[in-house]
């Protein structure tokens, strides 16, 4: 029964895509036609904007650019002209660094909060205040104290991905079924072994859900952070291409950001399925 609906949904998706691309193509080609009608205006624009690329690109232009990037993702032709793959690599490395740091802090701390009602109450006010702060608001403070733009971006990723993981870990740990804890207690299992053999597997699905929310937020934030700190990364690439008025490259980057975000999410979804147990 699922096969037909999958097929039909795929067909509708394809239809939407084709309609969208066609509409885009027609709108844009119509627009450039108007521009051709006014050569002086076009010339003026051509002069003021380096290559005359101010015109909205069509899907074919974007496709060609994307293909160009895919063919040669890792070139370096100067500080501002670096392959899209390298820029993405920088972003992913920063996200990974900040994210792993956040995991290293959030999961043990979440265990502590989840297992100790005292610590839970003691830390709650701090979490409540710190959690709603936009991660980018930390940026100036990070730049001032760390004095390194790359590390500051990592810090911002850390601070934005720490909360969902922390809160989910604490919640998952605090809500492990009482009867499973009682099984461990009647078997005289020590605290440490209990944490690893009962609480961790029982809370793992909730923890991984937090990790999945975190990776999504981290990938959202890295683009904004790199626009601010500059230098390298996909966020910087988008901003740089905007300054170059290369809308084709901007659109290409947007596409690539979406696809990478999806892949990261899928990775965590797969991990989630791995640790989920049927009840």
């Amino acid at each position: 029964m699922t096969k037909p609906i999958d097929l039909r949904a795929g067909a509708v998706s394809l239809l939407i895509l084709v309609t969208f691309l066609l509409a885009w193509h027609l709108t844009v080609s119509g627009g450039s036609g108007v521009q051709k009608m006014d050569p002086e205006y076009a010339k003026l624009m051509g002069i003021t904007t380096t290559q005359g690329k101010s015109a909205m690109p069509g899907p074919l232009d974007v496709g060609a650019t994307l293909w160009g990037h895919l063919k040669d993702p890792f070139y370096v032709r100067g500080t501002n002209d670096v392959g899209l793959g390298l820029q993405l690599g920088h972003s992913i490395l920063r996200v990974m660094a900040g994210y792993l740091l956040a995991m290293a802090v959030a999961i043990p701390l979440g265990f502590l909060i989840g297992m100790s009602p005292l610590m839970s109450r003691a830390l709650d006010p701090f979490i409540q205040v710190l959690k709603p702060i936009s991660p980018l608001a930390w940026m100036p403070l990070a730049l001032y104290t760390i004095k390194d733009s790359g590390a500051s971006a990592i810090f911002v990723i850390f601070i934005c991905s720490v909360w969902p993981m922390l809160i989910n870990t604490a919640f998952g740990v605090a809500n492990v079924r009482k009867e499973w804890i009682n099984v461990a207690r009647t078997l005289e299992v020590g605290t440490f072994r209990k944490a690893f053999t009962v609480i961790l597997p029982a809370a793992a699905p909730t923890i991984v859900t937090g990790m999945r929310i975190s990776i999504g937020i981290a990938w959202l934030v890295i683009v904004a952070a790199e626009m601010l700190v500059g230098g390298t990364g996909i966020g910087y690439f988008v901003w740089n291409e905007w300054n170059n008025l290369s809308i084709t490259n901007v659109i290409t980057a947007i596409l690539v950001i979406g696809v990478v975000g999806m892949l990261l999410d899928q990775l965590l979804a797969r991990l989630g399925r791995l640790v989920t147990f049927p009840e």
């Binding site: 009867e179 499973w180 009682n182 099984v183 207690r185 009647t186 078997l187 005289e188 299992v189 053999t197 009962v198 597997p201 029982a202 147990f277 049927p278 009840e279």
Partner: protein, 319 residues
């Protein structure tokens, strides 16, 4: 009582009441269980049976009083006292064998993996689940899950087995089979068992002594009924024994009326000592209860009807 392997000495349990003050669930309970004895506690839902069992398990502490096991006061959970939980309480991410092996490895931490798995497999085989050893709890039926729970409890060679309504979630057929298995194992190994139930026939079939608890709050042990049926009883012949109906009527009468009116009986001057709840043999006429007695005797067919009606009503309240 001669041998008090388990000795419950004046325990009570109170919880803060919603409107301030405290509610005493049960008060001043005294009970002795001899080594190798099978004791069943029967009483209405909410009278504190689970709380008593949790105190015996070391999972809960009494508000006052102590429980002494083998000469030592209980200070917490112990591998010597295995619990079979009502809700089976299997770890869902482990296989049936894994669940049992977890208990075995906890009992004998120095054992090699092979030794642990062999011992666990022996327990799995004891409950007839070798074909399902690698399945996870979600892939097992209710009866199979409870079998794993039983295997887990038996695998650690406990000195005392504590069971909290172990078969109440099962269908009648499965329940009967599991009762047979548990009885065989316990009779063979001389296991000391403390079981909670609300099923009268289950208590009659399995227990040597049946402890009758009055309704809470302030529940007490009204009396201890000595099971007059022969040790060699089987599930299919218990109801043919002449002592069966007097015994069953006595317990049902207690559950239907006396569990509520017991305090009134005491007020009316019935002699009773909390430290020594009377041992009652419902077959001997001189021990017959003083209070208003049995449901109109009627033909045996009717008496059989009385049971299921009552247990169903109770079951509804329990679940």
């Amino acid at each position: 009582m001669q041998d008090r392997y388990i000795s419950i000495e004046g325990i009570s349990r109170a919880y803060p009441a919603p409107g301030g003050g405290v509610t005493t669930i049960f008060d001043d309970l005294w009970l002795g269980v001899a080594r190798g004895e099978f004791v069943a506690v029967i009483g209405h839902s909410g009278c504190g049976k689970t709380t008593v069992l949790n105190i015996l398990a070391g999972l809960d502490v009494p508000s006052s009083g102590v429980v002494v096991v083998d000469g030592k006061a209980i200070e917490g959970p112990s591998l010597d006292r295995a619990v079979i939980f009502q809700s089976h309480a299997l770890l869902p991410w482990k296989s049936a064998l894994g669940n049992v092996a977890y208990a075995v490895a906890s009992r004998w931490p120095k054992w090699s993996r092979g030794e642990v798995s062999a011992k666990a497999m022996a327990a799995i085989r004891l409950v007839g689940l070798e074909h399902a050893a690698e399945r996870r709890p979600a892939e097992l039926s209710g009866g199979m899950k409870q079998r794993v729970g039983i295997a887990r409890a038996l695998s650690i060679d406990p000195k005392i087995l504590l069971m909290d309504e172990p078969f109440s979630a099962l269908d009648a057929l499965t329940r009967g089979t599991l009762q047979d298995e548990v009885r065989n194992i316990c009779v063979e190994t001389g296991q000391t068992v403390f079981m909670i139930t609300h099923d009268v026939d289950e208590a009659i079939y399995l227990a040597d002594k049946i402890v009758l608890m009055t309704n809470g709050p302030g529940a007490r042990i009204a009396e201890i009924v000595v099971n007059p049926l022969p040790d060699g009883r089987t599930r299919n012949d218990v109801h043919r024994h002449p002592a069966y109906y007097p015994l069953r009527n006595h317990i049902i009468d207690f559950l239907v009326t006396r569990s509520k009116s017991f305090d009134g009986e005491l007020a009316a001057g019935r002699p009773w000592d909390a430290r020594n709840p009377p041992l009652v043999n419902p077959v001997a006429p001189e021990r017959a209860p003083l209070a208003p007695v049995p449901v109109p005797a009627g033909p045996s067919g009717e008496a059989v009807e009385a049971g299921p009606v009552l247990t169903q009503a109770q079951r509804r309240r329990t679940t």
